[in-house]
C-alpha cells in the first residue's frame, strides 16, 4: 500500500517538475530579453536539482544527493557570472 502511494506520488512530483522545466525552457527560448533567459536558466538549474532529489528518494540511494549539490553550486556560479556579464559586459574585471 505505502509502496504504491510512494510510487504514484513520486511520479506525480516528477511530472510536475518536468512541466516546470518545460515552462522554464519555454521562457528561455522566447526571451524577450537576455535577463529573462538567465532567470529561466537559473530556475531550470533549481528544478533539475530537485528532480535529482526526487530520483534519489525513488531509487532509495543517497548517491543522487552529491549530483544535486553539484548542480546547485554550478547553477549559482553560472547565473552570477551571467548576471555580472549582463551588467558590465565582462565577468572578471
Amino acid at each position: 500500500m505505502s509502496a504504491t502511494l510512494l510510487f504514484w506520488s513520486l511520479s506525480l512530483a516528477q511530472v510536475l517538475l518536468a512541466l516546470a522545466m518545460a515552462a522554464a525552457v519555454y521562457r528561455m527560448i522566447k526571451g524577450p530579453r537576455a535577463q529573462d533567459r538567465v532567470l529561466s536558466l537559473d530556475s531550470l538549474y533549481v528544478n533539475a536539482m530537485l528532480m535529482l532529489v526526487v530520483f534519489g528518494i525513488r531509487s532509495g540511494t543517497t548517491h543522487y544527493f552529491e549530483a544535486a549539490l553539484i548542480i546547485g553550486v554550478l547553477g549559482f556560479t553560472s547565473s552570477v557570472a551571467l548576471a555580472k556579464f549582463l551588467m558590465r559586459g565582462e565577468v572578471i574585471e
Partner: protein, 114 residues
Amino acid sequence: MWAAVLVASCVVLGAFFTFIGCLGLVRLKTFYHRVHAPTLGTSFGTLMILLGSVTYFSVTQSRPAVHEALIFVFVSVTTPVTLMLLARAAIYRDRAEKNDNVPSPDGDTEKIVK
C-alpha cells in the same frame, strides 16, 4: 505507512509550488514581474521536497539523514543573491536603453508606464 503519507504529501506539495513558480515565469508579463516567481520554487518547494527526502531516508535507513539541510541552506541563500544581481543588471540595461518602464536613478517612480 504514516511516513509514506508524509513523504508523498511533502514531495507533491513541494513539486506543486515549484511548478507554480515556473508557471509564473511563463504567465507574468514583464521581467520585473517574473523575477518574483523563482523564489516560490526555491523557498517552499525546495523545503518541502527536502523534508520528504529527510523523512524517507531517516525511516528507511533508521538513522537521521540530515545532509539535505545543506542543499536547502545553499539554495535558499544563493537564489536571492542571483535574483538581486539580475534585477540590478536588468534595471541598468533598461536605463542604458532609456526605456520608460523603470524609475530614474534619482528615485522618480511617478512616471512609470505600467
